[in-house]
Structure formats: C-alpha cells, structure tokens
C-alpha cells in the first residue's frame, strides 16, 4: 500500500534526533539549546506517528500522543523562554557557559 518502509521514517527521525541532541549539547546560546530540544521532540513525534500507522496494530492513539507531546513542547518552550528572560535580567547573558552556579 505504501512504498516507503517504516524504517525510512524511523531513520529520518533518528537523524533529526541526533542533530537536535548535538545542538542541545554543544550550542552556547540558550535559545538555540531550547530550540534544539524542540527538534528532538519533533523527531520523537515522527516516531510516534510512524508507529501509529505502521505498528502491528495501527491506531489513532499514536497521533493523539504526538498531539499531547506538541502541547507539552509548546508549554515547555514558553516556560523555558520565561526562565531565560528572567536569567538574562539577572546575569545579562544568554551564554550557557556562564550559567554554572551548580559548581559553586
């Protein structure tokens, strides 16, 4: 019915996830880190939707789950940004290197 194997979608999701992960762990700008995390969430959503169609028992639930994930991601982005702004106000930077209060 479909000419595209499930593994292709999964591989795409994997690549995007890895890009997001790399970005989240290596970028210095906090905004980019946040957005990289969004990318990772997206990759996961692809997986969810893929299995909703290609799973052993296809079901709409996968899509619903993806929907919830998007919602949570949106909320997370908002809160993350708020924290970022609060931090920026105190420390005048968004550079993640300088946020090392855990060390002290």
């Amino acid at each position: 019915m479909s000419s595209i194997p499930a593994s292709a979608f999964l591989a795409l999701a994997l690549i995007l996830f890895c890009i997001g992960l790399y970005g989240a762990l290596s970028k210095r700008n906090t905004v980019i880190v946040l957005i990289s995390i969004e990318l990772m969430l997206n990759a996961v959503n692809i997986n969810l939707v893929t299995f909703s169609k290609y799973g052993i028992k296809p079901s709409i639930t996968g899509q619903i789950f993806a929907l919830f994930a998007i919602t949570v991601a949106a909320a997370e982005a908002a809160v993350g940004l708020a924290i970022l702004i609060a931090l920026y106000r105190n420390r005048k930077t968004v550079n993640i290197d300088e946020m090392d209060t855990m060390k002290h």
Binding site: L21, A24, L25, S26, V33, I96, D97, M99, D100, T101, M102, K103, H104
Partner: protein, 622 residues
C-alpha cells in the same frame, strides 16, 4: 645449705629493691644496707662452699616456661666451679661494697650506686649458679646491664655516656654469638641443660662440625664479655666508671664471666680440637697484644684495664690448651690481686684526684698502707715467686707448653715479661721518685677503704697455695673430681718452665727499675727507639679508629641508604599512587564545571557507550 643456695643471690637483689624504693630516704645509710646484705650472701656462699667440699653436686630445677612440648626450666646448681665462683664473687663484691662506703663518700647518688651494685651482684651470683645455658644467658645479659649502669654512673660526663654505650653494644655483639650458639645447640640436643649437652657430646649425638660451630659461637660471647681481641676495646673505656666498679666488674667478676663460661662448658669445647685451638690462639694473642698496649699508657686505670685484658687472655690460653684447672685457678688468683690493684689505684686516685701517672710520684711515703698493698698486687701479677700469681701463671705456662704449641707458649712468656715491666713501670712512676708539690695534702684513705684492701692483699699472697706443685694440688683435685672430661688436675710441666717464668718476670721488673726507678736508662730510650711503634701502641693499634671507620661508618651508611629508600622509593611509590589518584580526581573535577550542558553531554555519552556495547554484544536485540 646447698639446697637453699638459691637464697644467696636474693640478698643483693633485696638490697637492689630496697635501695630502689627507699634509697632516697636512706641517703648515705644505704651503704649499710648494701654491705650487710652482701655480707650475708658472702657468709652463705662460704658455708655452701664448705659443704660442697664433702657433699656431691646439688641441682634443683622448676618449670619456667612451656612452649608446646618444650619445657624450659629454671633452677640452680652447686658444683665445684659454681661454689668456688660464688665465693669469689660474693667476697669481692662484699669488699667492694665496703670500700665504696669510703670512696663514694659525699656523692648524693650513693643509694643509686649501691642499688646498681646490688643488681650487678645479684646477676653475677645468678650467673654462676645457673644450671643451664638459657639461664646463664639471662644473667649474662643482666650483668652486662649492671656493668652498663655502673660505667654510666657519672651520667653527666660525655665520656661515661660513650663508654657505657660502647660497653653495652660491644658485649652485645658477643652475646648474640652466644645466643646463636646456644639456640643451635638447643636444636641439636633439645635441651639447654649443661648435663644434657655434655651427655649428648659424650654420646656423640652431635656431629663434630656442629660442636665446633656452636662452641665457637659461644666463645664469641666469652670474647665479648671478657674483652678478648677483637672485642676488647670497651673494657679500657669502661674505666670511666667509679673505681670500685672497675675493681668489681671489670677486673674480678664480670669480665671473668667469659672465662667462667668456657670453663663451665669445657666438655663441649674439649670435644672440638679446632675450638680449643681457636681459644688458645685468641687468648695468647690478646695476652700479648693488650700487654703491649699497657706498656705505654699513662692513665693508671687504663694500664690496669689492659693488664686485665691481657690476664684474661692468659686464662683463655690456659683453657684453650686444655688446662682447665690452670684457667680457673688463675681466674681466682687474678680476681684477688687485680681487685686489690684496682682498689689500691682507687685509693691513690682518691688521694691525688688524678688518674694520670705522669702527674704522680713519691706517694710511697704518703700512702703508707696503699703503697705496700699495691706492691703486693704488682708482685703477684708479675709472677714473682711465692705469691699467688706465680703459681697460677706457672700452671698456665705449663699447660701451654703441654698443649703442644710452642709459639703460643713463647707468646705467653713474652706477655709475662711485658706484664712485669708495665706493672712495675706503674708502681715506680706512682710511688717512687720526686713528690710533686701539689701533692702536699695527700693523705691515706679511711679505714673502710683500707680494710678491704688488706683482706685482698692477704688473699693475693696466700691464695696461690691451694694449688701448688710443692704442697699439693688441692684445688685441681677437687675441681676435677668425678669429671674426667675436665682433664688432669695438674699439668706436670718440665721444671725449667718455672725457672723461665721467674727469670722473665724478674727481668721485666729489673728493666722497669732501670728506667723508672733508678732512671739510669732514659725514658725516651724505649719510646725513642721505636717512635712509630710507641705511637701505635699509645693509640692502641688504632683499633677504635679502625672500627669507627669501618663498622660504624658502614652501619651509618647503611642507615642513610635505607633512609634514602624509605624517603624516595617507598614514599615515592606512595606519592606516585597518590599523585595518580589525584590526577584522576582533577580530570574528573574538570568535568564538574557546573554547566548542565556538560553534565548532559557526559551522561549522554555514557549512555551511548552502554548502548553501543549492548548493540555490539547482541544483548540489545535478544
């Protein structure tokens, strides 16, 4: 009496304990405690000796220590030798106790002095009563300590401190030899008992090699204690102690312990020709070696000390030549006349407050009692006929001749000549000649000091007559009765030996008189002839310096080398490990920079590694 002979050493021990505990309150009165208690043990010893003349050997033992199946015992034994030694020790000790009352008068540490004397006497009496090697060793060490304490009695003097230390360590070197020999012997015979050892030797239960080895090792102990070459250097230094101590310990008793030990173990030594020969050689060499040093010394006590070393060498020579009786006989006579000489020397020192004989002279008229007594001692030691030393020395010479080693005999004769010479050199320099101006206030010692000297003087004259070729060899017969392994009671040497000995000693006296008495020969005649020789002799053959250079430096070098190892190798390894761990920690702590991102990266990479491992090992899909 013999059954309770164990009480004898307890008297001085009691004295030691009482003075240790209450000495501070007794002050000078502590002298009486010491004197009375040693007197008691002297009386007891004499009674035991008299009983031993008739009764057989008595021995009693009790368990001391059990180790598994081994049972070590402690006890006491009264045989001829022990009984004799006991009396000698008690007698000299008692006399020295009395003498010290005068000599140490005014010293605030009299109680301590008497306590130490008590300890020493206790140990020495214990030593001569010991029925086994272990007990001998125990008391052997204890007498060493007594000697150490008394040498270091003037603790504030640096020389006394050094001498005490030296005495202890040098004798300990010998003691270790004794310890090794004794332990080896133990594993050969399974016993420390003299009787068991002799039995094993008689029955041939020990191989010849073992006998020789153990005998020589035990002899090392005797060498250390009796100041034989090469462990003799401590004995002259030990003269730093108070003079009565030198008389008691370093002349009459403790230094004779080495001779006593060889005598007590004589059946063991007799079973090995090599051991006997070694003893004889070392004895003869020491006799002449020490006598030659004694020729030029200027310290009155040191001359006597070297004389002691030399005389002990004589005794060793006698024992080594199988002259058991001769050795013991000389041990006894020597104890009397050498103690006399030391006490007289002490009396001189007490009077003039110096020990340098160059600063003395003309004391004969001032010390009316000390002078003649000193002369008696000098005559006795020189082997002038009719005095005790003559008979015992003659016995030794005869034994050496019979021993079959003419060279040793020759050495002994030369040593006898030397002895006569340096002893009379001493006598002439101290008692004759011009009286020095600063010696005006010299006066004779008090009665407590002269009385013991008189007793010893009498003994120095008569004690020889217990064993003479003329009036019977009573001592020898008694000593060897019932024990064949000790050899003949009397060695019948050729008659000319006695004449030779007499002539030699008279020649020595005559030469000394020429140089120091009549002064018809310049004193430089001797020293000038052999300038280098004189220097060597005066510096005691540089033995001390040699030891200092070799053994002491080696030990120190070893120590520093090991310290180097300790500091750099051991600590280095430790530091290396610590540094490694620290480095690891530092690397680790770098990761802990407080940045969430780094933590995340670490955690993720860790996860990735795990996942990869699982994927590769296949655990992932199964």
């Amino acid at each position: 009496m013999m059954e309770t002979a164990w009480i004898i050493p307890l008297f001085p021990l009691l004295s030691f304990l009482i003075l240790l505990l209450f000495g501070r309150r007794l002050k000078e009165a502590s002298a009486f405690v010491g004197i009375l208690l040693t007197l008691a043990s002297l009386v007891y010893s004499i009674l035991v000796l008299f009983e031993r003349f008739t009764a057989p050997t008595y021995k009693s033992e009790a368990a001391w220590l059990n180790i598994g199946d081994l049972h070590l015992t402690a006890g006491f034994e009264v045989n001829q030798l022990n009984a004799l030694m006991l009396v000698i020790v008690s007698l000299v000790s008692c006399l020295v106790h009395t003498y010290s009352k005068g000599y140490m008068h005014g010293d605030e540490r009299i109680p301590v002095f008497y306590a130490y004397l008590g300890l020493f006497t206790f140990a020495m009496q214990g030593l001569v009563l010991s029925p086994n090697l272990l007990q001998t060793y125990i008391f052997w060490e204890l007498v060493g300590v007594g000697s150490f304490l008394l040498i270091g009695f003037y603790f504030y003097k640096e020389e006394a401190k050094a001498a005490a230390k030296k005495a202890f360590i040098m004798t300990r070197i010998g003691d270790v030899g004794l310890l090794i020999g004794m332990i080896l012997l133990f594993w050969q015979t399974n016993s420390f008992e003299y009787d068991e050892i002799f039995k094993a030797v008689r029955e041939g239960a020990i191989s010849q090699g073992w006998i020789t080895l153990t005998a020589l090792l035990i002899f090392v102990g005797a060498v250390g204690k009796s100041g034989q070459f090469p462990l003799h250097t401590w004995l002259p230094d030990a003269m730093e102690g108070p003079t009565p101590v030198s008389a008691l310990i370093h002349a009459a008793t403790m230094v004779a312990a080495g001779v006593y030990l060889v005598a007590a173990l004589f059946p063991l030594f007799a079973a090995s020709k090599t051991a006997l020969l070694t003893i004889a050689i070392i004895g003869a060499f020491t006799a002449i070696f020490a006598a030659s040093i004694g020729l030029v010394q200027t310290d009155i006590k040191r001359v006597l000390a070297y004389s002691t070393v030399s005389q002990l060498g004589y005794m060793m020579l006698a024992l080594g030549s199988a002259g058991y009786v001769a050795g013991v006989f000389h041990l006894m006579t020597h104890a009397f006349f050498k103690a006399l000489l030391f006490l007289a020397a002490g009396s001189v020192i007490h009077a003039v407050h110096t020990q340098n004989i160059e600063e003395m002279g003309g004391l004969w008229k001032k010390l009316r009692l000390t002078g003649p007594l000193f002369l008696i001692g000098t005559l006795a030691i020189s082997g002038v006929p009719l005095l005790s030393g003559f008979f015992s020395k003659d016995e030794i010479l005869a034994a050496a001749w019979e021993g079959g080693h003419p060279i040793l005999f020759l050495l002994a004769v030369i040593a006898a000549f030397f002895t006569a010479f340096y002893m009379f050199r001493l006598f002439f320099m101290v008692f004759t000649g011009e009286a020095r101006s600063e010696m005006k206030h010299v006066h004779e010692s008090p009665g407590v000091m002269t009385l013991p000297m008189i007793v010893l003087g009498v003994l120095a004259v008569i004690s020889g007559y217990v064993n003479t070729p003329w009036f019977g060899t009573f001592l020898g017969d008694w000593l060897t009765k019932g024990n064949d392994s000790l050899g003949h009671s009397h060695v019948e040497g050729p008659g000319w030996i006695m004449i030779v000995a007499t002539l030699v000693s008279l020649a020595g006296i005559f030469l000394a008189w020429l140089i120091y008495g009549k002064k018809s020969l310049s004193r430089d005649w001797l020293s000038g002839r052999g300038g280098a020789l004189h220097t060597i002799l005066y510096n005691k053959y540089y033995i001390d310096e040699f030891y200092q250079l070799t053994i002491v430096s080696l030990t120190k070098g070893m120590s520093y080398f090991l310290r180097f190892i300790d500091l750099f190798l051991v600590e280095g390894i430790v530091k290396g490990v610590a540094g490694f761990v620290q480095g690891l920690g530092k690397t680790g702590s770098k990761v802990q920079n407080g940045q969430v991102q780094t933590y995340g990266a670490m955690a993720f990479v860790g996860l990735a590694v795990l996942v990869v491992i699982f994927a590769l090992t296949g655990g992932y899909l199964k």
